[in-house]
């Protein structure tokens, strides 16, 4: 059998699933990830269970990450990106550029001696990419490290007991021969600053869905950024960056109605007194078991049709939301102490560049295009497939199913 490998670009849930499924189908895999750790967006999401599981599927991610990293048939290259590609299906030659992380993940045991030694204060210049990072190896923060401010510091390198740190490291070019490629580069979270009137980045108590995920994951509860107290009146604003032709995003992001409702339940579980309003255009309640969940939510969540146009700060801890009350046909302003912008899924800014390198087409809105309307993992280039949110918005189970489908196509082309 041809022992040449399959290349998976991107280490988010779609890339991880693709790599794992390929390996289970007896393929050798290279997975490359641009960041120092794998997991992508989904690794920063948090379980939204209340007294029962609310089916957010976030728990599937660390499970798969762990399984993937120890799989003997998968080789992982972090801080790496594709520079160039030649050849054709069955025989691609790919040039990868690996940026120096100055720490060899195979040697680093994450013992922490380097952190103690690092003279940069208060936040050290060497650490894990994120808490619980996979692989569990440190990375040098170029913005903080003294070596990148013109000084000749080698303290961590000298102290490292396993000689894992090497500042002589330079960007390396790696040539890989692969027989097929799965592109799983994921998405960008819509930048809520683009909707300037909603005050994100200006008022502390305006958060995005992603901020909520990270806060819940790290702190275990949601507290107001302005005063550290639990929120009392929370507004969720749907379709921020989705279904919005003014900014060129004429599509539904599919995940935001669901996460807003799950967060609402989670907040009410934390504090049963909290008042929650969800401002929406059209509620997306389709999906296995979700209609039932929505009916339960309706009992103690206020749903308002219409999206606030402007958020202002009325007092240090209070926000004013201006929206059209459709039932009266009037503009009203009401106050909340926390506004959560349900930001959607946007195409990666780098997609255009990667599409050019790989020779694949970009489709509507800047996601990667598929070969035709029914083969939604195949591209215009034979041997190159796409998986997950780089093709369009998907939730976690959909990304997993889509990756499985891409793997099926790879396996079929190769046998």
């Amino acid at each position: 059998m041809n022992k040449k490998r399959v290349l998976v670009i991107g280490g988010g849930i779609a890339g991880i699933t693709s790599a794992l499924e390929l390996a289970k189908n007896d393929q050798e895999v290279f997975l490359i990830e641009k960041d120092p750790g794998i997991g992508g967006h989904a690794a920063s999401f948090c379980c939204k269970a209340t007294e029962i599981c609310n089916k957010c599927s976030v728990c599937l991610v660390p499970e798969k990450m762990r399984e993937m990293v120890i799989h003997p048939q998968i080789s992982l290259l972090t801080t790496s990106e594709v520079r160039e590609i030649n050849g054709e299906a069955g025989d691609f030659r790919v040039k990868i550029v690996q940026k120096p992380r100055f720490v060899d993940p195979d040697k680093c045991t994450a013992c922490g001696i380097c952190i103690e030694a690092c003279p940069v204060e208060p936040q050290k210049a060497i650490n894990l990419a994120y808490p619980g990072a996979v692989p569990p190896a440190f990375v040098v923060d170029n913005d903080r490290c003294l070596r990148f401010q013109g000084e000749e510091c080698t303290i961590c390198q000298d102290k490292c007991p396993t000689k894992a740190i090497d500042f002589a490291q330079d960007s390396q070019e790696i040539d890989l021969d692969v027989k097929a490629i799965i592109v799983a580069t994921g998405f960008d979270v819509f930048d809520a600053r683009e909707k300037a009137l909603l005050g994100y980045g200006k008022y502390p108590n305006v958060l995005t869905g992603l901020d909520m995920e990270e806060m819940l994951l790290k702190e275990g509860e949601i507290l107001l950024p302005s005063n550290g107290k639990p929120p009392q009146e929370v507004a969720f604003i749907q379709c921020v960056g989705s279904r919005d032709e003014h900014i060129g995003n004429g599509y539904c992001s599919k995940v935001c109605c669901k996460y807003a409702m799950r967060f609402s339940r989670s907040l009410q579980y934390q504090n049963p007194e909290v008042k929650i309003t969800i401002f929406y255009m059209d509620l997306q309640t389709a999906g296995k078991g979700f209609g039932e969940f929505y009916e339960q939510c309706k009992e103690n969540i206020r749903f308002v049709k219409g999206i606030p146009v402007e958020i202002s700060q009325v007092s240090p801890d209070q926000l004013g939301l201006r929206y059209e009350d459709l039932s009266q046909g009037k503009i009203v302003e009401e106050s909340h102490d926390l506004a959560v912008l349900s930001v959607g899924i946007a195409p990666r800014k780098n997609n255009r560049n990667l599409a050019r390198i790989l020779g694949i087409n970009l489709g509507d809105f800047g996601f990667f295009d598929t070969l035709n309307q029914v083969e939604n993992t195949s591209t215009n280039i034979e041997g190159i497939f796409i998986a997950g949110c780089c093709q369009g918005p998907k939730d976690i189970p959909e990304s997993i199913a889509h990756s499985t489908q891409a793997v099926l196509r790879v396996v079929r082309t190769l046998t």
């Binding site: 499924e21 045991t109 013992c111 309307q373 499985t404 099926l408 396996v411």
Partner: protein, 555 residues
């Protein structure tokens, strides 16, 4: 011979997140005093590759025969530690993990209490591991053939993909021909492909493949056996067939139902369902009277499915295009969370389809003189009362399980969700697995899917089956669950409570027998058995009892 227990304890600091709260060095020196503990090691990141390698060699060098880990949740790293044990020549089930990170260090602010809880948990793990028994694995032969129930688009797609992966497939369809619901559709807009073309293409693909057998006018009567070796009794075209399969895919699709109760009216010549309208658009016959004003009513029979929205957008556009009729859509929430639907909604508005969105108030529908008057409070017009009359009203239908879902459920022993669709709502089963190993789902029989997602689901299902049956042997844990024949009185409690249908009666020994291939090790049988005849290795009564002894004791 009494085994000489030699325990090795590996403590992990998880990047100093544990030692911040707990003095692991003190724990280590306390543990070293226990007589059968032969080795204690403290590591910063036990799960790193070097540490795993090191663990294997320590096990071998120190002659350890039991391993206790103090670190993170077994969910994360247990598999890696088991691998290390195998490298060290030890049965990987002789392992016990104390989750001192998530259950002690990360959650208890009081250092003294956290310390004593950590000590107790590790002691519990030690006392458990002393009683651990090895579990062996064995390769069992399996059949690689697959039965697919349902010859609609999802079943056909799964069949073709499985055939490409070199599986012999039997495609069982209850009607005379393949295609299911696709036969009733007039278009798959915005796809350029027509249902007829797609169907012809798929049927030809199936006919070309010698390893797909199609059984029409067929019915599954009975299933015996388990994953790898199901025995199916099938009736097809009046003949009875018995066949063996390694796996089964359920692809029976869904049905639709007009809700007379919720609408408060009957169907008639000018009040028709979406499916009826679809059939009229598909038929080549001339329309007697071209409808000038068509209304589509949504969110009454079914508020939580995408299919009625897709149908209204597609057929509303078709009516505009074909007849130039005025088209109105009445709804609460359009379901647009699938590929291309927002674009279709935009196109419909551009082509003159008018949408009215109401709140929870039900629109008033009153038929009179061949016309249907519709009155509703439009939310976007400040709840102004809108009054319109149409000469054709197309009503939505609820998406419901196919009519004989219960028969198949009891033949296959598979679980339903609360709406009676197949597959219990458990994220660990998504996308296509069932409660029984070797039985999978494909298409709308288990989820609300649009056409493209149905194809995707069919493919996902094919790969899941292939992974299970990729070779003709599969490695299985043998006798993980042990039945004591002397204690078993054949009360059948275990057989009734096993969610995976993995227990049968051993006629020879007159006792319950666990089928290793189908068992998923959940332990429900062991918990339920009134005679205490069943033990699950790793969770035997002795192991649990031994742990409880240390629950209260301080170190």
């Amino acid at each position: 011979m009494v085994e000489d227990i030699r325990i090795g304890i590996f403590l992990c600091d998880c990047g100093e997140t544990i030692s911040r709260r707990i003095d692991l060095l003190r724990i280590k020196s306390n543990l070293e005093k226990i007589s059968d503990v032969k080795y204690v090691e403290l590591s910063h990141y036990l799960c790193s590759q070097q540490e795993i390698e090191l663990m294997g060699s320590e096990i071998r060098e120190k002659g350890l025969n039991r391993v206790v880990i103090g670190g993170c949740s077994p969910q994360f790293c247990e598999a890696a530690f088991m691998e290390a044990m195998e490298k060290g020549g030890l049965n990987p089930y002789l392992l016990s993990v104390a989750n001192i990170r998530d259950q002690c260090a990360w959650v208890h602010p009081d250092k003294t209490k956290a310390f004593s809880k950590t000590a107790r948990q590790i002691k519990m793990a030690i006392s458990k591991t002393r009683l651990s028994q090895p579990i062996e694995k064995e390769a069992i032969s399996i059949n690689r053939d697959v039965l697919i129930i349902g010859g609609g688009i999802s079943g056909m797609e799964t069949a073709i993909e499985l055939s490409n992966l070199d599986h012999k497939v039997t495609l069982l369809e209850r009607e005379k021909g393949l295609g299911g619901r696709l036969n009733q559709l007039h278009s798959l807009y915005p796809l350029e492909l027509t249902p007829d073309n797609l169907l012809t293409e798929k049927i030809e693909a199936i006919n070309r493949r010698p390893n797909i057998e199609v059984l029409t006018t067929g019915e599954l009567l009975k299933i015996e056996g388990q994953i790898g070796n199901f025995v199916a009794r099938i009736k097809a075209d009046d003949s009875l067939i018995t066949r063996n399969f390694g796996a089964i895919v359920v692809a029976t699709g869904c049905d639709t139902q007009f809700s007379k109760e919720r609408y408060g009216l009957e169907l008639s010549d000018n009040i028709i369902t979406q499916l009826q309208f679809e059939k009229m658009l598909k038929s080549q016959e001339k329309w007697e009277r071209i409808p000038q004003k068509i209304g589509f009513m949504l969110d009454i029979s079914d508020e939580h499915s995408r299919i009625p929205t897709i149908s209204a957008l597609k057929n509303g556009l078709a009516a505009r295009r074909r007849f130039g009729s005025e088209v109105y859509v009445f709804c609460k929430n359009l379901k647009l969370d699938a590929t291309g639907l927002e674009g279709m909604y935009r196109e419909a508005r551009d082509k003159g389809v008018i949408f009215f969105k109401s709140g929870d108030e039900m629109p008033r529908i009153s038929p009179a003189n061949g016309q249907i008057n519709i009155q509703l409070e439009d939310l976007y017009l400040a709840k102004e009362l809108v009054s319109l009359s149409c000469d054709l009203l197309v009503v939505d239908e609820k998406i419901i399980p196919q009519r004989d879902f219960e028969t198949l459920k009891s033949i296959l022993n598979i679980d339903l969700d609360s709406s009676n669709f197949y597959q219990q709502p458990n994220v660990h089963l998504y996308p296509v697995a069932s409660n029984r190993k070797g039985i999978f789902f494909s298409g709308t029989c288990h989820a609300d899917l649009d056409f493209r997602d149905t194809l995707a689901d069919g493919r996902a299902s094919a790969l899941a089956v292939h992974q299970l049956l990729s070779s003709d042997k599969v490695s299985v844990e043998v006798e993980r669950v042990v039945v004591d024949h002397d204690k078993c009185v054949l009360c059948l409690t275990c057989i009734r409570s096993c969610p995976h249908h993995a227990i049968e009666v051993d006629q020879e020994k007159q006792a319950a027998k666990v089928i290793d291939l189908a068992c998923q090790g959940c332990g429900i049988c062991a918990g339920e058995c009134p005679a205490k005849a069943i033990q699950l290795k790793g969770y035997t009564d002795d192991e649990i009892g031994a742990q409880l002894e240390f629950l209260e004791e301080a170190m």
